[in-house]
Symmetry: C2
Subunit: 246 residues, 2 copies
Amino acid sequence: MAHYKVILTYDGTDFQGFQRQVEGRTVQASVEAALERIGWQESSILFAGRTDAGVHAAGQVIGFNLDWKHSPEELQDAVNANLPVDVSALSVAEAEENFHPRFSAVARCYHYRIFCEPVRQPLRERYAWRVWPAVRTKPLEETADYLIGRHDFSAFGSAPQEGGTTIREIFSSIWKVLENDLVFQITGNAFLYRMVRRLVSFQIEVGQGKRNPEEIKLFLDGGSKEVVQGLAPPQGLVLEEVFYPK
Amino acid sequence: MAHYKVILTYDGTDFQGFQRQVEGRTVQASVEAALERIGWQESSILFAGRTDAGVHAAGQVIGFNLDWKHSPEELQDAVNANLPVDVSALSVAEAEENFHPRFSAVARCYHYRIFCEPVRQPLRERYAWRVWPAVRTKPLEETADYLIGRHDFSAFGSAPQEGGTTIREIFSSIWKVLENDLVFQITGNAFLYRMVRRLVSFQIEVGQGKRNPEEIKLFLDGGSKEVVQGLAPPQGLVLEEVFYPK
């Protein structure tokens, strides 16, 4: 019996999120069904983080134990042959016995893509949020900068368990111009529930001139007792990468 | 009664092509249904070019007559409010009475996107063809270069009507690197049925070292009596723009 680490990518559009539910198509259930077909016998896989309905992943990480007689490459082929067309195993490797996709992780990187156009753009809206009126880039960049460091993000999300800390450390937070899109790229030790989508929504309000960049300071570090209202839609968000100690 | 020119974009994934058919969901039928809801009474719209099942458009052009009392902007809003989520009218303008989306056009531009990866990539394969083994860029560029000018493309497609000419003039033919994708961008006066997808398939064989760039000369200008076999899949292709005299 060996322990495996698998990097998964999926198009979240047709899933009710990552985590298995009583009803609804989920990534976890699809992966577990694929693994069962090749002899996997545990009750649940481990994973790095939940993604909500409609959120995508380029680098979700899962872990499981399996009695497998062949190479990791052959395991990857077998898994991919059994996964639906909107999920794929990008890599498969043997892992240390104590490796846990969530608790071993030291950082996560998310990307959120937007573009500014006045009318619907079907070819672009599956993986990006269409924003109008257009945003200015400079205030977005200024706001993103304030996020870097250790902060209490209680105004932007809730802790995974009741009473848990809402302090998170952000290592990098930038907006990049890619073709005609703007992409918010944020890396931190961990994230609160819906934190990235709330941060994006707030920044878009800044980019549209409805708030000043400095206003974000009023919401960081417990400055606001309420969670901010705006929530950017799921289709712009991608769990890009999960990092582990070398 | 005024004549209108509308630029359409659509995600071709869930359509059985542009042109109306007895059965199957088509872009034309969706657009005509939307127009009927705002008082359009003709039997058929005019359009620049058919696109096959699964092929996308960023700049398809249609024309129709309509008795409309308000501005073109209001017509655009009304059309978009009635179109399904995978089709959108990017612009609406009044056109000359003799404007015809197909016969007035002087050039068309198509883009075909590929990327090279050994395993499935759900987040990228809706709008691109995954190619493996990887291609070299230089031979692709060399082959694309041979296409420029007036050529008989009978080996790469058939004329729209029996006995029609298979000579087409290519104004520009290049491969561009965009993020991690390669995009074939071709502009010509007109294109034969499935010509772009056959040209892409041929060039990928060159890029993978199965053919030499110069071999394409054997198939141009009537050098081959047969149509080449390979056909790149539809999802990589986008009808990018249709050009009209200024």
